[in-house]
Amino acid sequence: MPMVDIAGKEYEVDEEGYLVDLSQWNEDVAKYMAVEEKVDLTESHWEVVNFLREYYAEYQIAPAVRVLTKAIGKKLGPDKGNNKYLYELFPYGPAKQACKIAGLPKPTGCI
């Protein structure tokens, strides 16, 4: 599998650029992935990324976008738990892009 160099360290990624070993994740990796995805990371982005990492730690999967939206609504309020808000942050799919930045695998049932 391909290797990428991030801040002087080597990381293994899959064909689509997702981090293979999620225990290697750190902020440098997140920033690198964000540049790859053409996402300018703000506080709001970090909120979603950190939420996803917590979700993964609890359930061992990356959630489908519908499930992510609902779960964010529950935790951060309806202003943030909706498609419009999340797609503004991650235009190419909140589950797909935010998971990549968070170092998670591509969501199961990502259609």
Partner: protein, 131 residues
Amino acid sequence: MSDMDMEDDGAGVVKKFMFLNRKAPHGTVYALEGLEVVLITAAFDQDVSMVFTDDGVYQLLKGIDSKGIEVKDFSKTYRALEGYDIEKLYVDQASMDARGLTEDDLIVDVTVLYVSEMANLMDEQDVVISF
């Protein structure tokens, strides 16, 4: 569901799907693959139920530690099912008894059914898929 034009009576049909899990969580890929199929099915707004019987009841066991066999422990993922609106989880009474298990040993809330009740439930389904 979808904004695509669907063939006349194909649109919006909700079928009753039962996923039958009969195998221990590790050693074969059935349990993990079955779980992934269920998570994907959830995207299609169908009426989904999951049944755990025979060694399949071990899939729901609390406190699984799979480090020694170097595979991912996906048992926590059963807890995510609720978020996917999959809330009908059933276990077979006889399978639980034979393994000395009770509901307290399981990682999620389930309904325990006797064989006859399970047979009725199975009879109501449109589709039964076994893993």
